[in-house]
């Protein structure tokens, strides 16, 4: 046991820090008197608000610390571990600060933004904890480039074998290779959309999702093969196409998993910036009431 993940970093040291913070915040909350309902305006509310605001600023600093490569201020893993635990505690701190006074106003807007950021962080944490394992298993020790190298090799071989078969088979295989799609836009990557087509006979291109149709097409030709050599070629072709299908599935899965692993940050970070703006406005507006 030599590698430590984010959550168990240093025996989950920051879990205890954040639990301490939560307990302290709760104590502060219940000491608010009966003069007015618990809210952000009591001195306890101000303390909670200040702690929450400082926490938000500190949490965003991770983006800077991550890029200060020669910094010796802790390790990035330590910072990230603390980011996760203290970021989670922020929900409690901010909720207690709000005193659950929800309304259609800027303050609630800032609160909602914060919740969105934290929830997207939870999703990110989930992907960080579980997807690398899935990606590693899916790649079976190789890199993505190796999968593509194998795919291109299969393409070449399939074309070579197909060229020795009947023209319609050759056209079907060639077109299925040419019209295989991988990746694409955000949606296609995240949901493994497959817009593959192939040309069957003289007709228009038909859908070839997951390469199944072209395999079926070549398979259907097999019983009608005239010569022994043709049958052998077709059989070899089917093996190649099936292997190609398997490799494509694997690449598609890799793209999908990797996509999810990356995409949340493209949400988490911009919303964080929006949150910072909202937070500043929230603080300014608060002081107008003062």
């Amino acid at each position: 046991m030599i590698h430590r993940n984010l959550l168990s970093y240093r025996g989950a040291r920051y879990l205890w820090w954040s639990l301490g913070l939560i307990v302290a915040s709760c104590i502060l909350y219940v000491t608010q008197g009966d003069a007015q309902p618990p809210n952000g305006g009591t001195w306890q509310g101000y303390v909670l608000g200040t702690v929450g605001a400082l926490l938000i600023v500190w949490l965003t600093l991770l983006g800077i610390r991550k890029r200060r490569y020669s910094s010796t201020m802790g390790t990035v893993q330590g910072w990230t571990s603390a980011h996760v635990y203290l970021g989670s505690a922020l929900i409690v701190v901010a909720t207690l600060h709000s005193g659950l006074q929800i309304g259609w106003n800027l303050h609630t807007f800032a609160y909602v933004l914060m919740c969105v950021v934290i929830l997207s962080g939870f999703f990110g944490l989930y992907t960080y904890m579980s997807y690398p394992q899935l990606i590693s298993k899916n790649r079976e020790g190789g890199a993505r480039a190796e999968l593509f190298a194998e795919l291109f090799e299969l393409d070449r071989n399939a074309r070579a074998v197909a060229s020795r078969c009947a023209p319609d088979v050759a056209i079907a295989v060639d077109s299925s290779i040419e019209r295989t799609t991988l990746g694409g836009g955000i949606y296609s990557q995240l949901f493994s959309r497959d817009d593959s087509y192939f040309v069957r006979g003289a007709g228009k291109p038909v859908r070839n999702t997951d390469q199944q149709q072209v395999i079926d097409f070549v398979g259907a030709r097999l019983p009608r093969a005239a010569k022994g050599a043709e049958a052998a070629n077709l059989q070899q072709l089917i093996v190649l196409l099936c292997r190609r299908q398997a490799v494509l599935r694997r690449i598609r899965r890799d793209i999908r998993l990797y996509g999810w692993l990356k995409i949340w940050l493209y949400f988490h970070v911009p919303v964080t910036i929006a949150l910072l703006v909202a937070l500043v406005l929230h603080i300014i507006v608060t002081f107008f009431y003062w």
Binding site: N5, Y69, V76, P132
Partner: protein, 843 residues
């Protein structure tokens, strides 16, 4: 009849000829007293062949140039033109295309026969022919035709020609592949396959030959019988012997890359003796560079001095020596600085001579080699704390002030206090110490503090030198001690050329290992006898030391390398233990169980000391033998092996690590793929902390289960990269990191020598903007490496330099790659943690 014939117009020969020319001019001689003979058609053949614009370094920086020709760091063109200017200015008597076939006669009347048949008479001969040798020719009629070439400077020079490339080595393959870009190339291989080539070249050439779209084809088992110039559009007619019989083809040109004839045969034909059969042996020379054949002098790389400046200085000096002028060599002041702090006053030559007589092991060395050894070493002198020490310190400080302007600073005497620690256990020492005077105290670590006193003529530090392991003991400067600290590289060079030194060091290593493992209180004298009876075994990678089920009658101490122990389990071999240098193997055979329970195989090249039963009993029968810890070690190892045996998956993982060469690693980057999110922050951190170039490739490298070993330096026990670095730019720090310092000349030897592909040759990357100017003002490129950067004109002129991981030596907080990993996937570990790595892993 000339006074001096200089053979070879490289830096050494040119400088010698220039000195002779200058002397002639001084003496107002009308005809030259010397002749410079060069087999090639231009001077400085090797440097001419460098790529255009290559930057040539002027190492070592602290040595002054002494020559009638100019030389300083600069581009190849600048240096070559400075030399040809010098040659014409001094009107040097140089004869090109004058290859020497034979040298006969003796001092005062040598007759030098050229290939052309002409004979030149000279009183003295200076050999400055370098190590490269002449290219091997075809050996068939037509081998000297202009269109039969033995080198290829620029493959782009030719296009749409039919070219035959003869040879099956790396240079033939590389030339053929490059030429095939725009020519029709046939490669002629005398054998059935390309077995001599590097793997990368082998794969590339076979792929190109089988690819119908490439313009490269191969004739196997084919040799040339004759070449004739027939004229016409395709001017050469070549008759070849193929397996199918004789065949005649037409081509435009032949590029023959058949290797070089090493100059040693030629040198030996003159009567010059080499100390041994090793390929890198250097002939014995006097202080004046004179060989065992009176009147024949050897300078430059053939004399063991590969750097340009050294060679040029020797060229100057040798002509002065021949003329009876006993000048002080250019390195004389260096020795003066080194001896400056000694507590006695003598001339430099006297001190060198005295040192040599004081150290028995070095007595048989030739004077020149010993002098070089001292120049490359550090001298340490211990003074009693107090006034004497302060005074010595002050004197050195004054000298330092005087030399402050010299950059880099030459080595000076290192003044230490008596009682000061020379090294601590655990430090990665790379040097070897010889005691010239006084005493040194060695203090072994472990349960008992065992102290050994060493005196004049003795040496220590051999264990780290031979095995690459960190120091095991503490060394303390004793009263009046004067030490020569010799760097590893110099020592290895010496061991290769001097049998005396090699056996001396081998012997003390064995004695100290016996002492450490079995009889810590035995004196050297007692152990000497036993040491002569144990044998040294060498294994190549993959060789088997002993097999499971055999009966054994000896145990082994692993001196260097790594050994895997495998147990047969059902159908498969199961790894149960990994033995590293300094540990025992097969000890059970002498401790109750004569049957070998494992098969021992070397992972990497290994050296072992074999101890037979009789010697073992002799060692352990002593009253003060170290039996208890030995037995404890043995039972711990038996348990460890059993534990590994019952968990096959751990053994498989360990096997994978060993296959990846981690058996010789001291510090390796291991990534847990189950944690790695592929953010490449490790690479970015590496680039950002190392001048914009990452020294690791995260994605490349092998994976087993979750464990990924990226392409990154492992800081081997015996670094392959350090083997052959001309300016000695590759260093190992005390904490073990292997790094490259700024004296790198960009030769690429280390890149070629590293079996793990972790060294790259790169141009300097452009300077990075600060984070803020990048983020807000969009200046330059962002954090991390920009792999397609355009090198600036300045960095192009400087040329490509080797870069490798230095494990962030000198950077606070440790390796940046590890500190920058947000998920904890990247760690750097040493071999002692491999067991933890393969232990049942849960998070």
């Amino acid at each position: 009849m000339y006074q001096i014939a200089i053979i070879g117009a490289g830096p050494a020969g040119l400088s010698a000829a220039a000195r002779a020319a200058a002397r002639d001019r001084q003496a107002r001689r009308s005809s030259p007293s010397y002749i410079l003979l060069e087999g090639f058609s231009a001077h400085a053949k090797t440097i001419q062949r460098y790529q255009k614009g290559k930057h040539v370094m002027a190492e070592p920086g602290f040595l002054d140039l002494r020559s009638d020709l100019g030389f300083g760091a600069g581009s190849r063109e600048k240096i070559l033109s400075a030399w040809s200017d010098g040659l014409s200015q001094l009107n040097v008597n140089i004869r090109y295309n004058a290859e020497v076939r034979k040298i006969g006669g003796g001092k005062g009347a040598f007759s030098i026969q050229l290939v052309s048949g002409e004979v030149i008479q000279a009183a003295f001969v200076v050999l400055a022919i370098g190590l490269e040798g002449n290219p091997r020719k075809l050996g068939t009629p037509g081998e000297d035709l202009a269109r039969v070439q033995y080198q290829l400077d620029d493959p782009k020079e030719f296009s749409n020609e039919t070219i035959l490339v003869v040879g099956a080595g790396d240079s033939a393959i590389e030339n053929a592949l490059a030429l095939a870009e725009q020519n029709d190339v046939w490669i002629l291989n005398r054998g059935k396959e390309f077995s001599r080539a590097k793997d990368a070249n082998l794969n590339a050439v076979v792929a190109a030959i089988t690819d119908p779209r490439r313009r490269l084809n191969c004739y196997y088992e084919t040799s040339i019988k004759s070449v004739t110039q027939t004229g016409g559009a395709v001017p050469l007619t070549v008759v070849m012997q193929t397996p199918a019989g004789e065949k005649t083809v037409q081509c435009h040109r032949i590029i023959a890359r058949l290797g070089a004839i090493p100059p040693r045969k030629f040198v030996e034909s003159i009567g010059i003796k080499f100390p041994n059969e090793r390929a890198d042996a250097i002939p014995a020379l006097s202080r004046h560079y004179e060989s065992n054949v009176p009147g024949v002098y050897i300078i430059g790389s053939l004399a063991g001095f590969p750097l340009i400046k050294q060679a040029m200085n020797q060229g100057y000096d040798v002509v002065e020596f021949i003329n009876g002028n006993d000048v002080k060599p250019a390195d004389h002041p260096l020795l003066e600085y080194q001896f400056f702090g000694l507590p006695f006053e003598r001339t430099v030559d006297e001190i060198v001579e005295r040192f040599q007589t004081l150290i028995p092991m070095f007595r048989e060395m030739n004077a020149l080699a010993f002098r070089e050894l001292v120049i490359e070493s550090d001298l340490m002198v211990a003074f009693p704390p107090g006034a004497e020490f302060e005074d010595a310190r002050r004197r050195m400080a004054q000298l330092q002030k005087k030399l402050a302007k010299k950059d880099p600073q030459p080595r000076m005497t290192r003044v230490i206090r008596e009682g000061e620690v020379i090294y601590q256990p655990g430090e990665f020492g790379t040097s070897f110490f010889t005691i010239v005077d006084g005493e040194v105290l060695l203090e072994a670590t472990g349960p008992q503090k065992i102290r050994t006193r060493l005196g004049r003529g003795e040496f220590f530090g051999e264990m780290s030198l031979l095995s690459g392991r960190p120091r095991l003991e503490k060394a303390i400067a004793g009263p009046g001690c004067i030490l020569v600290e010799t760097p590893r590289r110099t020592m290895l060079k010496l061991m290769n050329s001097n049998e005396e030194v090699r056996s001396g060091i081998d012997w003390i290593f064995i004695v100290r290992e016996l002492q450490r493992h079995f009889a810590p209180f035995a004196s050297l004298r007692e152990l000497r006898n036993i040491a002569t009876r144990v044998t040294l075994r060498k294994l190549k990678a993959g060789e088997v030391l002993f097999a499971e089920g055999e009966t054994g009658d000896s145990l082994f101490v692993l001196r260097s390398g790594a050994i895997t122990l495998l147990r047969r389990q059902g159908e498969a071999d199961q790894l149960v233990s990994q033995v590293r240098s300094g540990q025992l193997i097969g000890e059970m055979a002498l401790m109750g169980d004569p049957i070998r329970r494992e098969t021992a195989t070397a992972n990497v090249a290994a050296e072992l000391i074999e101890i037979k039963r009789r010697e073992f009993l002799e060692l352990t029968r002593r009253d003060d033998a170290r039996l208890d810890p030995l037995q404890k070690d043995v039972s711990r190892r038996v348990v460890d092996k059993a534990r590994m045996q019952v968990r096959p998956e751990a053994g498989t993982l360990m096997n994978f690590l060993m296959d990846e060469g981690l058996g010789e690693a001291t510090n390796v980057l291991v990534i847990d793929e189950a944690l790695c999110v592929g953010c490449d922050n490790c690479e970015k951190a590496c680039a950002e902390t190392h001048q914009g170039v990452s020294r690791l490739d995260r994605e490349a490298g092998a994976t087993f289960g979750n464990i990924h070993i990226p392409i990154s330096c492992r800081h081997c026990e015996q670094p392959h990269c350090m083997k052959d670095c001309p300016p000695n730019a590759l260093r190992r720090s005390e904490t073990g990191e292997v790094y490259i310092n700024e004296t790198c000349i960009g030769c690429g030897n280390c890149e070629a020598n590293c079996p793990y592909g972790v060294i790259r040759m790169v141009y300097d990357a452009p300077k990075k903007p600060g984070l803020v100017s990048w983020m807000i003002f969009a200046m330059g490129s962002g954090p991390g490496e920009q792999p397609d950067y355009k090198p600036s004109a300045k960095s192009k002129e400087k040329g490509k330099k080797a870069t490798k991981c230095d494990a962030c030596v000198g950077i606070k907080g440790g390796p940046a790659c590890v500190r920058a990993c947000p998920t904890g996937a990247a760690i750097r570990i040493g071999p002692e943690q491999f067991v933890d790595l393969v232990e049942e892993r849960k998070r």
